[in-house]
Structure formats: structure tokens, C-alpha cells
């Protein structure tokens, strides 16, 4: 019996590695974890690749899989949440930004690093927040759209961009940046990481790991990595 | 009839035409530079397609434009010594010599490796790469390679160029021997009147 195969969003990597370790420590088979962009993973599932669990970085890709009836009914649940923050290089002289419009002023002639607002989940949340807060029109052509949140983080870490929008989990993990602002949770659609079992999965351990992730022990691990848990 | 050749071929601005009917022996093609001698040998060997005509050697039709016959070069069994040496640069001299020998049926061979090496005095070159040979050395190896392929007729394009008088004489004697003893038809190009005189059973002038 092979251990279950979990396809998970790259941004969950550390937390899920920890969780898998903790699960194995209970005498279970350690699940095999495959991290990539949610888009790539969803496409693999849609193509019929034999996976057991899917952890997506946003609801949209989970919806796309569910629309094809590829999820085990009733297995979809919210695993974790996240917050969106504004970061600047550690050495910045900026004070805390209180209003979204402060971003425009603080940018100077630099660019705002964020994940691609057209396609990457973190970027879409960020755009929604900026739109809601009325700063988007002034910023729309000042964006440096990165491939993913980590790349946006790197742009700020290296001083290529004076400000960036990333998840709180990413900001917490970097010693080279400082959080200079937080978006109110209400300013964007809820940031949620859904988990679900794949309908075609025949691996009995898959459900066990899913339940572990959703258990208090599993949630504690996620919280430790900075995720918000329900 | 050893050679029964009638060929025409356009090359750029020039029309190459040749008519050779010859019995046994050495037929020498004689003519000024650029008249088409090499082209004729290439057509007899099957490396160049004539526009029209026919090639028969020893009564076997190798090419005929009217019947659209064209025997591929590897089955014509020509022993062709090219005007340039054309040794295989990735094989040592010995492997060059053996190339055609290995492809020939043992029963068809009429000269053996050691005899060729002695005749051409290339014993000390066997382990060499072609790129390190002098002009005359390369020429001698090329001759040896052609003889060892057990050809049924020879095409020799100025085979004695780059060779010193002693070696010329030696090889000329071998050609006479092949002509007289083995009775292989030989079509040869040379610009040397004395050489033509000595070897030719028949001289065909082009141009």
C-alpha cells in the first residue's frame, strides 16, 4: 500500500511538511507531498492524474475541479486562512501606513511588488483590496507583477521595489522586510485554502490525513506557521 | 567489349560528352583541364547522373537513360581512385584500406592486404591518421583502398600525381600487371604523355 499523494499549493509547503511529519510520528505512513502552483495541480487532477488530496491556494481552482465532479462529495473543507499585508525593506524609513492612499505616496517613483493581479491568487486579493480602498486607479500601472508571492517578496527584499503586498505568512518568514501596513479582512474576498479528497482516490489513508489536517493538532501546526485557522 | 560508354551531361555552361568503346586493356582519357574527364569517371561510377546515354562495362549495363536503369554505386564494383584522395579522416590508414576489403566477397578479392602494403610501401603508415599524411602518402593509400575492394574494373583519375619517379614506375608496373594478368578493364585519366604512351591500350581524346 503506497502512502497517499497530496497535491498542495506551493505557499503551504512548510506547514504541510510539518503536518506530514507530525502525522507520521503517530505511526501512520507519511503522505507524499507534491508542491506546485495551484493552477498546475488543478490541471493535473482534471487530466485524470492519480492523486488523493488537493490543497489549493484559493477557492477558484478548487471550484474548477469541483465543477468537473472530481472531488469526493462532502470532503471539501477550509483548511486555513491568511491575511494580506504591505511590506517594505527592513531598513525603510517609512512609518506605518494607515490608509491605502499612503501607498501611492510612499512608492515615490518605484513600483509596488505583488503577485500577478490578473492571475495569481495573492495578486487578485490584493487588487480587490486596493480597488475597495480606492487606491487601485493610481496604482494600476505601477505594479510589478510577480509569478508568485515569494517572487514579490524577493523584489522587496532586494530593494528592487520599495513596497510589496504579500501574505502575512510570507512577511513573518523573512528577516529582510518589515510589515508597514495591514489590509482589513473585509477589504477583499476571504483568503481561504480549501482541502478536498479526489473522487477517484482509493487510498484509505487519504481521508485519515485530511482529518488530521482539520483536527486541532493539525490546525495548531498551521497556526504556528502564521496561517489563520477557523 | 570492356567499356561501352556514351554519355551527355550539362554542367553549368559546359556540355560534357564522351563516347568510349574499348576492348580489353587500359583506356586513357586525355584532354585539357576542365573538359569533363572527372565527370565521366563519376558517371561511370554512379556518383553523377548523366542527362542521357548508357554505360556498359564487360557487357553489364550500369546505366541506360532509355530504360531508366541505374545500378547504385555500391553494386557497380568500380575501383575508383579519385583525383583527390578522399580518405576517411576518422579511420586510421589501416582501417581505410580495410573498408572496401571487408565489404567484398572473399572469393572476389584478387589482391591481399599484405601485397598492397608492400606494393605501395605504406607499412609504416598503417597506424597513422589520414590528416598526417603527405600528398603522395595519401595518394598511395587511396590506391590501395580501391584495389582491396575487389573491383571488377578500375577508374583512375591521375593516380600517379604527387608520386616520385620510382613509385610511379612501381605502380605503373602494377597497372600493367592488372591489365595483362587479371584483364580488368581500366579507365584512366592522365596528363602525362609518357605515362599514357606506356600504359594505354587505347587513348580517347576529349575536347
Amino acid at each position: 500500500q503506497r502512502p497517499p499523494l497530496v497535491l498542495a499549493a506551493a505557499s503551504m509547503q512548510e506547514a504541510l511538511e510539518d503536518a506530514a511529519g507530525a502525522y507520521a510520528a503517530r505511526g501512520k505512513a507519511r503522505p507524499v507531498l507534491s508542491f506546485a502552483a495551484s493552477s498546475a495541480l488543478a490541471r493535473q487532477i482534471v487530466a485524470g492524474a492519480p492523486a488523493d488530496l488537493f490543497v489549493s491556494a484559493d477557492e477558484a481552482w478548487m471550484d474548477a475541479v469541483e465543477a468537473r465532479r472530481l472531488l469526493a462529495p462532502g470532503s471539501r473543507a477550509t483548511l486555513a486562512g491568511n491575511r494580506l499585508v504591505v511590506i517594505a525593506p527592513r531598513a525603510t524609513r517609512l512609518g506605518a501606513l494607515r490608509r491605502a492612499r499612503d501607498i501611492v505616496a510612499a512608492l515615490g517613483d518605484g513600483r509596488l511588488a505583488m503577485a500577478d493581479p490578473a492571475s495569481v491568487p495573492a495578486g487578485r486579493y490584493g487588487r480587490a483590496a486596493l480597488q475597495r480602498l480606492g487606491a487601485w486607479p493610481a496604482l494600476a500601472d505601477r505594479i510589478a507583477a510577480a509569478e508568485n508571492v515569494r517572487a514579490a517578496l524577493a523584489l522587496v527584499e532586494r530593494g528592487a521595489a520599495p513596497l510589496g503586498i504579500v501574505y502575512a505568512t510570507d512577511a513573518q518568514a523573512s528577516r529582510r522586510v518589515r510589515v508597514v501596513g495591514r489590509f482589513p479582512p473585509a477589504s477583499h474576498p476571504p483568503i481561504r485554502y480549501p482541502v478536498a479528497r479526489i473522487a477517484a482516490s482509493r487510498n484509505p489513508e487519504a481521508e485519515g490525513f485530511r482529518c488530521f489536517l482539520l483536527s486541532p493538532a493539525g490546525r495548531a501546526i498551521l497556526r504556528r506557521h502564521g496561517f489563520a485557522v477557523p | 567489349m570492356s567499356f561501352d560508354i556514351s554519355l551527355a551531361k550539362r554542367r553549368c555552361d559546359r556540355l560534357i560528352a564522351a563516347h568510349v568503346t574499348a576492348g580489353d586493356g587500359v583506356t586513357v582519357l586525355f584532354g585539357p583541364s576542365g573538359i569533363g574527364k572527372t565527370s565521366v569517371l563519376d558517371m561511370v561510377a554512379g556518383l553523377l547522373a548523366p542527362d542521357e546515354g548508357h554505360v556498359r562495362v564487360h557487357g553489364v549495363t550500369l546505366f541506360d537513360s532509355t530504360t531508366r536503369t541505374s545500378v547504385p554505386p555500391e553494386r557497380r564494383r568500380a575501383g575508383y581512385v579519385f583525383q583527390d584522395a578522399r580518405l576517411f579522416p576518422h579511420r586510421r590508414v589501416e582501417a581505410n584500406l580495410r573498408y572496401g576489403e571487408r565489404l567484398a566477397a572473399p572469393a572476389e578479392r584478387w589482391i591481399d592486404f599484405d601485397a598492397v602494403v608492400t606494393l605501395l610501401d605504406i607499412g609504416q603508415l598503417l597506424r597513422r591518421w589520414p590528416a598526417t599524411l603527405s600528398g603522395g602518402e595519401a595518394r598511395r593509400v587511396a590506391i590501395g583502398r580501391a584495389l582491396l575492394a575487389a573491383p571488377r574494373f578500375l577508374l583512375l583519375d591521375e593516380p600517379l600525381s604527387f608520386l616520385d619517379a620510382a613509385r610511379r614506375d612501381e605502380i605503373a608496373r602494377t597497372i600493367e600487371d592488372i591489365r595483362d594478368r587479371l584483364r580488368l578493364p581500366i579507365l584512366m585519366v592522365t596528363h602525362d604523355a609518357a605515362e599514357a604512351e606506356r600504359l594505354a591500350t587505347r587513348i580517347v581524346r576529349m575536347g
Binding site: L33, A36, A47 | R86, L87
Partner: protein, 229 residues
């Protein structure tokens, strides 16, 4: 020096890259020969098709591979019916991705060498009794060795670095498809993973250095000047 996990990744990368290059070499050679020596209708189209994996971004190539090898895809269905196997999430799939990405580089290099082979040598082989096929195998092929070596090195290096197509096609499964570049990508996604990134990248570089040294040594041994008087 290397951790057990790093060793496993290195072994997998070598397996994937080695199998990919070895398996695709004959095809690359055949295509290179076709493009170098034959004129046929659709030649430029074939040429373009071969360049495709270079021109479209690797993730698109990976996606197209996924469509083709999916259980209900054209190739996937055949593999399943006839051999009962699937390459999804398997190292074989990673090798397929690497092979497809390496193909254009290999074809170009080999083609360049074949085009440089003096046809007069092939003619000479023919008059010595070699069939078209044998002349190809004994003259054209060995004289195109520099291109084969260059193509193999390029292809192997590309295979060692292949990321986008692989992760899109067969994901990032430890022990099966987590090759060096994918492990690097994973490390790059981890906060503070820079050290691991540099370490893994250094391993890649070391592997390619070994491949280069080997190919140079082979080239020196096999490479005879291609010129004759």
C-alpha cells in the same frame, strides 16, 4: 557531504536526464539527418515543430504533454490499453518532459555537424561497396560525432535544468519527479530557503561540469580533424 535526500535527488536527476537524452538521441539523429540531407514538402514545418518546445514557454509544453498523456489523452489511452502503464507522477514522465525539451537543442547541433560532413566521402564509401545505409553508419554518423556530443551535452544540461514542463506535467513528487530544479524551486518557495537553493544549484553545476569534462574528453578521443587532402 550530501544528505541522503540530496543524494536521492541527484540520482533521480541523473536517471531522468540520462534516460531522456539516451532515449531521444536516435530520434534526434534521424530528424537531424532528414533536415540536413533531404528536401521534402513540409520540411520547414517539421523544423518548426521540433523547435516548438523551445518557443512556447515550458509550462505550456508541460500542459500539452499532460493533455496527451492523460488517461483519456491520445497517447495516455494507448499506453494504458497496450502496456497498462501511466507516466503521470512517475519519473518516466519527467524523462519524457526532459526529452521533449532537449530535442530541439540536440537536433540543431547534430544537424549542423551532418551538414558539415563532406558528401564526397560518402561517395567514396559507396564506390567501395557500402550501401546508402552503411555509408551513413560508417561515414556520416562518426563524422557527425562532434555534433552528437555537443547535442548530448546541451540536451543533458537542459534536462538537468528542466523545470517548467516537468512540474506542470508530472508535478513535484519526491522520489519520482522531484528532480534538482524542482527541488530548487521548492526551496525557493520556503522562507530562508536561499541557502538550500544555492547548495542545490551548486550540485547542478557540479553535475554539468562533470558532463562537460567527460564530453570534452570523448571529443578529444573521437575527434579527428575532419579534413583530408
Amino acid at each position: 557531504m550530501l544528505s541522503g535526500e540530496e543524494w536521492a535527488i541527484v540520482r533521480l536527476s541523473l536517471l531522468v536526464g540520462g534516460v531522456a537524452v539516451a532515449a531521444v538521441l536516435p530520434l534526434a539523429f534521424a530528424l537531424a539527418w532528414l533536415l540536413a540531407r533531404r528536401r521534402f514538402p513540409g520540411r520547414v514545418l517539421l523544423d518548426a515543430l521540433i523547435h516548438l518546445p523551445l518557443v512556447v514557454p515550458p509550462v505550456v509544453t508541460g500542459w500539452l504533454l499532460l493533455l496527451a498523456f492523460a488517461p483519456d489523452g491520445p497517447i495516455g489511452a494507448m499506453l494504458d490499453r497496450w502496456l497498462g502503464v501511466s507516466v503521470l507522477f512517475r519519473w518516466t514522465g519527467a524523462a519524457i518532459a526532459a526529452a521533449v525539451m532537449a530535442l530541439p537543442l540536440m537536433v540543431r547541433a547534430i544537424r549542423l555537424s551532418i551538414e558539415g560532413v563532406d558528401r564526397r566521402l560518402v561517395d567514396a564509401a559507396r564506390t567501395l561497396g557500402a550501401s546508402r545505409m552503411r555509408a551513413f553508419a560508417t561515414v556520416t554518423l562518426p563524422l557527425a560525432i562532434p555534433g552528437v556530443l555537443a547535442g548530448t551535452v546541451l540536451g543533458f544540461a537542459r534536462a538537468l535544468g528542466e523545470f517548467g514542463a516537468t512540474i506542470t506535467f508530472v508535478s513535484n513528487v519526491p522520489g519520482e519527479t522531484r528532480t534538482l530544479p524542482i527541488a530548487i524551486y521548492s526551496a525557493l518557495q520556503t522562507p530562508g530557503g536561499e541557502a538550500a537553493v544555492l547548495r542545490l544549484a551548486a550540485i547542478s553545476v557540479a553535475l554539468s561540469l562533470v558532463a562537460l569534462v567527460v564530453s570534452e574528453a570523448l571529443a578529444r578521443r573521437m575527434g579527428r580533424s575532419a579534413h583530408v587532402l
